[in-house]
Homo-oligomer: 141 residues x 4
């Protein structure tokens, strides 16, 4: 499904390794051809990983929605990522009619999950046809 | 201590209600004279609450440091806050030599802690005299 | 009008000093009773100034809309503000059906406008009744 | 120079098309193999473009500095980018000893420069050996 919707990003090495209720973990494979000298994972790749984990988390709430698009994302790069695949867990913090907001932690697959490589938060804009009926009853606008 | 350092903010109704290792909870009292029509807590007050919770969390790591100043803060307002005191928990996500970064959740004291009013993240700039010796050994730059 | 809508913020010393097409300048008076030791203007006050300048700029496009609320705001504090009134200019960068986005520069009234105290950007959520008819024809969603 | 330092990003289609005093324009080539269905430029590519324009702008002030790394970046996606190369102009808003902050506008090369695709702002962390001597005299910390 992801491969069909986002051929580019999947080609870039992203995959989904866990889905829960309003939570998801995305993975960025380590590929020596896509890193900077010294094996440093580029910031845009880390951004892409955070971004897609938010898309996956939204998916767990509203289902497959290719029209959900990133509205805004803020990322702080906390440490360099060197020589390892990366994991990003997104937890949704709000699901509204128009926007879904989540927070994302990025760490090295080979390392301590509390030793964060990056922290991000942001919102996806949901399409107009995303009606209340499709949203969980416990969520408000 | 807080009152001595931040007379203005304390006067604005902020207090510290919990301190842990790299975590803190700040409280904003509900005061009908400081809210908008309908009892809505103004955004800048919520920002101030998030900001001071981050300062408190930094305090738990490096001690009393009046020279630590906010470098940047991003806040998403998720729902209106109406008629209630607010609580904000900050968890530090990184403590470096120059910057401390944290994430902050804001909720109504009378409400569900998972029903967030706002989500923020940001960084404090630490003063130059904040040497490695004062930092926990488990933290890197 | 502002005083009627935002009595709290106006009480806090904010005023509107310029309105254009998609642009506005807000002012924060310097008041020794509302600053930190040394005359430093608190971060939340600067945030509030940026926030209200964005509200003013939205006003120039869609008219008086008390239901427009801040969706998100990111602020970088670039230098301390000491002993001076502050000005904030917001320029709208996008006006959509659901969101208005702007960027905001804050400087000291007594100082060089290019010597920024803070830089902010963010979005206001526009109410559902904000129809296309009210938006300029040159703007898209 | 850019190609030598960032082989990945250059390979991804980024180039520098203008350098000024504290300002730079970066370009992202349009390449049908790197876009989503319908010719939509992916968000991470736009992020990467904004990020590298900030790096170029920092370069105009402190010279070639491969160790300058992104500290944080906030991006708002304002409209989809479809079928066109993109340009991003970064203007530095602050150059300090530790951090350089800038704002970035992204638009379609084929379109109206005022019709923004994205707006970003953020900071680069400058290495310790970036001494005052290398900074312009008109800039403060």
């Amino acid at each position: 499904m992801v491969a069909a919707t986002f051929p580019v990003t999947t080609e870039m090495g992203f995959s989904c390794v866990e889905l829960g209720d309003g939570t998801a973990v995305a993975r960025l494979a380590f590929d020596e051809t896509n890193v900077r000298p010294g094996g440093i994972v580029p910031g845009p790749s880390i951004f892409g990983l955070a971004d897609i984990s938010l898309w996956f988390a939204v998916f767990t709430k509203i289902g497959f929605e290719p029209m959900a698009v990133t509205s805004d994302l803020t990322i702080h790069f906390l440490r360099p990522a060197v020589g390892s695949a990366l994991l990003a867990r997104c937890n949704l913090t709000k699901l509204g009619k128009r926007l879904a907001h989540g927070e994302i932690r990025v760490w090295e697959e080979d390392g301590d999950p509390d030793r964060l490589i990056a922290f991000a938060s942001g919102a996806y804009a949901l399409p107009d046809h995303n009606t209340d009926d499709r949203l969980p009853k416990t969520q408000d606008a």
